[in-house]
């Protein structure tokens, strides 16, 4: 086996994925070839980094953090659930308040314009008279012409 062939199998050699005869061939080559052996050691060392990383453990308070975030989320959720309820309660309240203020305003309006209204009825009455007069006249003349 030449150096190129050995190099292209180093990772599978390290991972123990080679057939026994191929494994022996590479082992023998590495014992006699310094260049390939250096590369073998480099790659092997590099892969041990993964094992080091796997030993790192998460913070023991991670679950507390998660629980905290979940209760925050639930609070937000319950607030947003409450909001439509607020509207449901507020709607009739505002409606009746509007209605009430409408009534009060109406009474106030009625009181302050009572005098004016009386005057207006007099004016109206004269107008009506006048109109009636005119209409009567018109009918009369109409009747007259028919005759």
């Amino acid at each position: 086996m030449n150096c190129k062939e050995v190099n292209s199998n180093l990772i599978f050699y390290i991972e123990g994925e080679l057939q026994p005869d191929k494994k022996t061939e590479i082992k023998e080559h590495l014992q006699s070839c310094q260049d390939c052996n250096k590369l073998f050691l480099d790659i092997k060392e590099t892969f041990t980094i993964i094992e080091k990383e796997k030993k790192i453990k998460p913070n023991p308070f991670l679950f507390t953090r998660i629980q905290q975030q979940i209760s925050n989320l639930e609070e937000q959720k319950s607030l947003s659930v409450l909001q439509p309820n607020f509207i449901k309660i507020l709607q009739p309240v505002t409606l009746s308040l509007l209605l009430l203020s409408g009534i009060v305003f109406g009474i106030f309006l009625g009181n302050s314009f009572q005098k004016q209204e009386q005057n207006q009825t007099i004016v109206h009455q004269t107008d009506e008279f006048y109109l009636n007069d005119f209409q009567l006249e018109k009918i009369e003349s109409f009747l007259l012409t028919e005759e």
């Binding site: 190099n7 292209s8 180093l10 990772i11 599978f12 991972e15 250096k38 590369l39 480099d42 790659i43 060392e45 590099t46 892969f47 980094i49 993964i50 080091k52 990383e53 796997k54 790192i56 453990k57 998460p58 913070n59 991670l62 679950f63 953090r65 998660i66 629980q67 975030q69 979940i70 989320l73």
Partner: protein
């Protein structure tokens, strides 16, 4: 308690069941995140996000797949999204996690006065080159390789998570190793 019972309980907002799922899967999720992010703080943040998602989306989990498969899928997606959104600083962070104080050379030397400072610097370099090499793999090769190496998942489990055939996963991991070997050889032949 079975995963099926646990998910039913979580659906009803049972905190105890949620804690049980957390205890059962936190290391698996954390290791998966570490495999992609190579930084303890980031991996913890994403692990937290994964469990919040589990809690929030438990109704979306269909029982025809395994709970573990579903959880791994969330962990992979969240990790990849994190990488996508934080591309720049990841390499530096990974060095910090493995070698605290590496950012500050003085501390590193002090810390390793009784050890071998040369070796730490060497390992720091190796970590950078490894993470760069894994990070530059095509997406599916990266996912399959990372789940296999960092989480020790079987090819069958990876096939379920990735929704691929067993032979596709075998081929992805094989190609990932060839690519990594090529990248590492290129680096170590000059250095």
């Amino acid at each position: 308690m079975s995963d099926s019972e646990l998910t039913d309980r979580i659906r009803n907002r049972d905190q105890q069941a949620f804690k049980m799922v957390f205890d059962k899967y936190q290391i698996k999720v954390f290791n998966t995140c570490m495999g992609f992010l190579h930084n303890k703080n980031d991996a913890e943040d994403i692990t937290q996000e994964v469990f919040i998602e589990i809690y929030k989306s438990i109704n979306k989990f269909r029982k025809d797949s395994k709970l573990s498969t579903w959880i791994y899928r969330i962990a992979v997606n969240k990790s990849l999204n994190f990488i996508r959104d934080n591309k720049k600083s990841n390499w530096f962070k990974s060095v910090e996690t493995l070698f605290p104080g590496a950012k500050n050379p003085e501390i590193t030397i002090k810390d390793n006065i009784n050890n071998d400072p040369g070796k730490t610097i060497e390992n720091k370099e190796r970590a950078v080159i490894l993470h760069k090499a894994i990070g530059s793999l095509p997406k599916n090769q990266k996912i399959a390789f990372t789940m296999n190496k960092y989480e020790d998942l079987s090819y069958k489990q990876i096939a379920e998570v990735m929704e691929l055939s067993l032979s596709s996963v075998e081929s992805l991991i094989h190609r990932a190793k060839i690519n990594l070997q090529k990248k590492l050889l290129n680096y170590y032949k000059i250095n």
